[in-house]
Point group: C2
Chain length 226, copies 2
DNA sequence: ACAATTTGACAATAGTTCATGTCACTTTAC
DNA sequence: GTAAAGTGACATGAACTATTGTCAAATTGT
């Protein structure tokens, strides 16, 4: 009995092997559903217990899935963290952009709307806040890179915001990117302080404090045409 | 042979048992020397490989000491991290204060001196930079508390600095602490960006960018007496 | 009805870490 | 010189973790 006889028409290099429907959904649907569950569970565990405590087992348990399915969607813990982070920054950015568009077209309302969306998102989702403000730093070089990119993207947002306020020329500053990074850092730090004091201050207060720095930068440049 | 006979005059509750000199130094000296070695090794390992990779074993190996001596000085990894952090923030603050005192007594020189001390310390000690800017966040509630306190202390420094620039009245802002926290966050974020791009920009550039935000806040308030 | 696929509970392996313990060796006090 | 204190290399055990594997039960296509 020569072992070269295949037991079916399947090749030695196994075919994609189209999946069967199960409980009403296709294989792809089920897989992406599990992916979503893991993403949500990841956010929940990281947001509640921190990334250090977010073991594969605890995430799967939270997701109601077996460990095997973890590796179906992610190579490892860090890959999950990266995806969760990307998803949540995307979500945050979309909320801010939506707020911009829904806002009245005057500068004060415009920038308040963006900041409101930012701080609202965090206070309504403490898990996201903990992830974005605390857990993401110092994990690995790869994650640091991700963090850096996200900050730069938010700097672009901030730039649009401050420029809408009238900040025209800060060309005497060697690196304008640094200034915008600084403004992002200011808002993030205000958010961290807010989170660490359990969101005790009213949201308007943190918005005003943030806005103060934006407007100050704006006015300074505007008032200094020379 | 009744086991109640003590083998010496030592009590059942063992006495403090005064230590013997060894290799020229007293027990206290040796212990505090080991403590220093562990602190330095901790900074080195955390600064080079991150806190996650800073196992008790790796720290002791770096320190050239046995694991037993770790627990002589620290209850656990986290206790070491806390002490290293406190030591380095103390060091950073002392360098900044020294810079203030050595500076000429005009506002521009004064604030530049402080910022120069800050950024110089980080670029000269990448270990410290990594610890203070990245590794300290998201470790535990205890460490977060420490971070929060350190930030507030730096906010006081910043406040002194900006007030020396003439920032008098920002009383229309609900929480002034938030504004100062924001300025601290701005400087920290600029430092993070600088570190993540391998300190490529000249130090004067990051100083000017930071200063811009300070001066902007100053001028805005000053120019807005109403 | 029945074989194949899918799933979930769980075992297994190999590795790591913390924290403590053992023990031979070095140094000191007397 | 000798007993005790101090040291360093290493062992140990309990607890985790990541990752793969096993297997019976549930579900499906035919």
């Amino acid at each position: 009995m020569p072992k070269t006889i295949a037991k079916s028409n399947k090749d030695a290099a196994q075919m994609p092997q189209k999946s069967r429907r199960y409980r009403g959904s296709s294989g792809d649907q089920r897989r992406s559903e599990r992916y979503e569950q893991l993403l949500n569970a990841g956010l929940s565990v990281i947001g509640n217990q921190g990334y250090a405590a977010a073991s594969v087992r605890s995430i799967c348990s939270e997701a109601g899935l077996t460990e095997r399915y973890f590796y179906e969607s992610f190579a490892n813990r860090e890959a999950l963290l990266a995806e969760v982070y990307k998803t949540q920054t995307r979500y945050l950015k979309s909320r801010m952009l939506a707020a911009f568009e829904a806002s009245e077209r005057n500068t004060a309302a415009f920038s308040r709307a963006g900041l409101q969306a930012f701080f609202d998102t965090l206070s309504q989702n403490p898990d996201i806040a903990r992830l974005l403000l605390f857990e993401i730093l110092g994990v690995s070089d790869t994650i640091d890179e991700l963090y850096y990119e996200a900050m730069e993207e938010f700097a672009v947002l901030i730039r649009a915001l401050t420029e809408s306020l009238g900040l025209a020329d800060i060309s005497d500053i060697p690196d304008q990117g640094m200034v915008y990074a600084g403004l992002v850092g200011a808002v993030l730090q205000i958010a961290r302080r807010w989170a660490l004091t359990n969101y005790r201050e009213p949201v308007d207060s943190v918005i005003e404090s943030s806005l103060f720095l934006f407007v100050a930068a704006t006015n300074y440049s505007a008032a200094k045409p020379q």
